[in-house]
């Protein structure tokens, strides 16, 4: 294990101390392990909260700031935060217009946020609405399973709903925007290596040289199947084809195309992939309206990537272009 850590047990609090030092514009509550926008609560604005296991940086704390999240709750590595954290965050960002919880569809996250929403409403009377992201086409959506995982689309939901909240729109509308982005978003990922959870000290699964996992999530879990490593063009096809098969992405407004790195894959490879993705989309008659390329929702030191497409409309693009000022995403402000 080659890691820059002190004690594996303290990686989350140690990283939060670093985040606090690097970003004095944010407030870090070390006791509750929550990161809060410096000027929260913003009076009259819907508060946006997300959170989840750590190890996906910059998601979620890197997206706290004007135009995006009001607070993020950091769990242990790959482990959902606990309800007390979400309740503390809800109190911290309640500006009188209610609070939106953005939750990735994982059993633990959903259950902890569910308990937190019940507790927050009972204890504080704040109106809480939850939107669950579930965009991973690798998982067959079925009533009999935990359902599709929430992955790449979560970044875009946080940005776009965050812009809607910043405009002062009411909670049902902000939640509606978040749901629209999720419903119009699909993702698929591959891994070229596993990742090492510091407390475990060794890779979560063995992946022999020359093999890759197709249909992975963001927790170092194996994917749906294992195949020989392929050239970028074929990888792009493995990622984009199931996405296009799942939803009709043709339309006048095009898509937001997001190529994400899983943590250990360099940006140059992500651009190699982006070119292949753009070529496939062009042949399929799908226009690209906006793009995002980089490691934004990661899985520790996993090598690999994911592709997320969101079918755009005027509202989505306007909100996407709106100013955002966070540690990891920043434009127009």
């Amino acid at each position: 294990m080659h890691k820059i850590i002190n004690d594996p047990a303290n990686i989350v609090p140690d990283a939060l101390r670093g985040l606090a030092a690097a970003h004095p514009e944010l407030r870090v509550d070390h006791e509750n392990r929550i990161v809060v926008r410096g000027d929260a609560p913003v009076a009259g604005k819907v508060g946006l909260i997300s959170g989840g296991g750590s190890g996906h940086e910059p998601l979620h704390a890197g997206f706290v700031g004007a135009g995006m999240l009001d607070a993020a709750c950091a769990g242990e590595i790959f482990t959902s935060p606990v309800p007390a954290q979400m309740v503390a965050a809800t109190r911290a960002v309640d500006g009188g217009a209610g609070v939106l919880h953005i939750v990735k569809n994982y059993t633990g996250d959903v259950m902890n946020f569910e308990m937190a929403a019940e507790l927050a409403e009972a204890e504080t009377g704040v109106a809480v609405t939850s939107v669950i992201t579930n965009d991973d086409v690798a998982v067959q959506d079925s009533l009999y399973t935990a359902g599709r995982r929430g992955v790449g689309v979560t970044v875009l939901v946080e940005k776009i709903a965050g812009a809607a909240a910043e405009q002062g729109r009411p909670l049902p509308e902000v939640a509606g925007v978040a749901r629209k982005v999720n419903d119009n978003g699909r993702s698929m990922g591959i891994a070229l290596s596993s990742c090492t959870v510091p407390a475990a000290g060794k890779p979560t699964f063995d992946l022999p040289d020359g093999q890759m996992e197709v249909g992975i999530g963001i927790h170092g879990e194996p994917g749906r199947r294992r195949v020989p490593v392929a050239p970028a063009g074929e990888i792009a096809d493995m990622l984009v084809s199931p996405i296009l098969a799942d939803l009709d992405f043709t339309g006048d407004s095009g898509v937001i195309a997001f190529v994400n790195g899983m943590g250990a894959t360099p940006l140059i490879e992500l651009y190699v992939l982006y070119h292949e993705v753009a070529t496939i989309l062009g042949k399929a008659g799908v226009g690209i309206a906006r793009s995002l390329v980089g490691p934004y929702i990661t899985s520790l030191d996993m090598a690999g990537c994911s592709v997320t497409l969101v079918k755009a409309d005027d509202e989505i693009l306007r909100l996407w272009d709106a100013p955002v000022r966070t540690p990891a995403l920043r434009w127009g402000a």
Binding site: S80, T145, A146
Partner: protein, 212 residues
Amino acid sequence: MTGTVDTAALTAWLREFARLIGDNKSLLTELDSAIGDADHGVNMHRGMTAVLATLDAEVPDTPAVLLKRTGMTLISNVGGASGPLYGTAFLRMATAAGNDASLADGDVAKILRAGLDGIVARGKAEAGDKTMYDALAPAVDTLDAVLADGQPLAEALAAAVRAAEEGRAATIPMVARKGRASYLGERSAGHQDPGATSVTLLLAAAAITLPG
């Protein structure tokens, strides 16, 4: 309701469960690495260490208060899916325990049944989903049946542990339909479920400590 199972016995149960979780931390994490996210052992250990700290500080007067505090401690310290599931189970056990200072044999079965119901309400698991339910449900059924047969608690809990072990083994060929393992589809088959494994430890700890 009064009987032989008092807060001292329940404290011994929780301490033994914490010890078994500590001894099996690596095993639980290893099982979770195969089909989940490699954190079940670490999370349960963190939660039960926090529970031990509450026991060291003070042992409440009634089973209900002790069980409720244990549930809240687990919810606040475990995270993941296990925190709400084990936490809800202990909160439901607390409600079912009433306000008396000790529990009769039948009450032990009653609180474990309430805990199982809490897990179902929170996690919506059914038989065959490859979860803790698959070990706990047959154990609770067995406990009821053996006690109804007029056998003492020690016998009934021993039989319940055997039922849990069989249920745990039965998760190996199952294809997961709940939790993170469900994302693996058919590839989740051939692995023992970590939650079914830890809940079997909970019953094993009960069989050692509760009959006195």
